[in-house]
């Protein structure tokens, strides 16, 4: 039997803060982020191959919305949606936000998260593997990617944010940046 979950749910205060967020505004921010990642990291999308045309439902089970991602190399899209409005998808990856962020930032192994039942996958398993492998190779740091969206002003924002993230990570339990040197 597995022990208690390795990834505690996001704190209640953070969930309360996220709940009323206007999804169209969040969608605009995320869409700009996805387009910036596509420009900066074409190899990530090349590694996805034909799976880039599929719809992935990213479901952080401890926050009040899900994300439908279509990582097409010629124009990725990402939409935040209320869970009840998730619509159609080819593959679903669900788990605590902490587990999903730790996987994106290379802190934990995706297979181990699956074996331990910290994450659940459904639908097109091959597409999930392709996405997992492409993200792992990309060595993404979401903070750096967010800063890149802001252009030259992003450098100052990133520098400030990097000073604050250790405390924010401790308070929320989330891997907010990539910490490995690999």
């Amino acid at each position: 039997m597995s022990d208690a979950p390795a990834f505690p749910a996001v704190p209640v205060m953070l969930r309360l803060f996220l709940t009323p967020l206007p999804l169209p505004l969040l969608g605009l921010v995320l869409q700009r982020l996805a387009e910036s990642v596509a420009r900066r990291r074409p190899q990530l999308f090349a590694r996805l191959g034909a799976h880039g045309g599929k719809a992935f439902l990213i479901d952080p089970t401890d926050v009040p919305f899900v994300f439908r991602l279509s990582p097409r190399s010629d124009g990725p899209t990402i939409e935040p949606l209320r869970r009840r409005d998730q619509g159609a998808w080819d593959a679903r990856i669900a788990g605590p936000l902490g587990a999903l962020l730790a996987m994106v930032h290379g802190e934990v192994d995706g297979d181990a998260l699956f074996f331990s039942r910290d994450i659940v996958i459904e639908g097109d398993t091959e597409a999930v593997l392709a996405l997992r492998n492409a993200l792992d190779d990309a060595e993404l740091d979401l903070l750096a990617e967010a800063a890149a969206v802001l252009g030259p002003a992003g450098d100052r924002m990133e520098s400030l944010a990097r000073r604050l993230t250790p405390l924010a990570s401790r308070l929320t339990g989330l891997a907010l940046t990539r910490r490995d040197g690999s």
Binding site: G106, D111, F115, S116, V120, E122, L129, N133, D137, S182
Partner: protein
Amino acid sequence: MPNRKTPELVCPAGTPAALRAAVDAGADSIYCGFQDETNARNFPGLNFTPEELAAGIGYAHARGARVLVAINTFSRAGAAGTWHGAVDTAAALGADAVILADIGLLDYAATRHPELRRHLSVQAAAANADAIRFYSEAFGVKRVVLPRVLTVSEIAAINREISCETEVFVFGGLCVMAEGRCSLSSYATGKSPNMNGVCSPASHVHYREEGGELVSRLGEFTMDRVPKHHPAPYPTLCKGCFTAGAYRGHVFEDPVSLDAATLIPQLLAAGVSAFKIEGRQRSRSYIRDVVTSFRRAVDAHASGLPIPAGTLQRLSEGQTTTAGAYRKTWR
């Protein structure tokens, strides 16, 4: 302080990032493959373009590590050019060795690239001294990766009778079939590690929550049902949970992973030259943790220190590890 013989630590990489992680964590050698059916981990989103491999070889060589290229599937009739091309590319890029299984491909590599070191893949299932001597004498094979079905004493017996090096798996997914000859995946999906580079391919794998259980299927076959909080299995036929008469359980093999860290002294005494970590399909996080752990273990043994206790169970299929056939208690 003792200064015992130090084995070569051979580590997996499915992506350029994983290769760098393996080098940085202390791998002596990294094995990897091209993005096609010429290697036995032909998974979506995995493996190297020739350009990525060239960069990976450059990164490894600059840090004193070697790169071994696995071209270890069996070439299709009428399509041998794909496999020949993979060997040519590995040679042109400066790979330190190729890992081969197909007799025809071994002959091609020995004839066209005699200077390129040849290792025999576990996919060739060479499990006795006569077979190994044949590969060594006929194709100049310098190292044989032994199948995961031998005990430590059997490995010692083989090493006494051969002149080439042996490499054994010490961690990761455990296949106890006659590798290269197993047809279970072909039976269920039409695709095999031997010909297509995929065992139980993800394209045929489906997971579903049904009645509080996680049900895993491979093609048309239900492989397992596990209740909540139990480790999730990957649905390979050899590790499926089946009903046979009154028995219900893992008929062929439990879903566990190999961890032979505690057998490092015995394996070295048996004459093994290199330790191999399985897992080209795993993330750079897995590579970093497992390579770091085995680097410490190998170095500790070389210095006469006790081998640190294993901490890798959480990374394993079934969240459980075994010493496998090395400590065989079954027939």
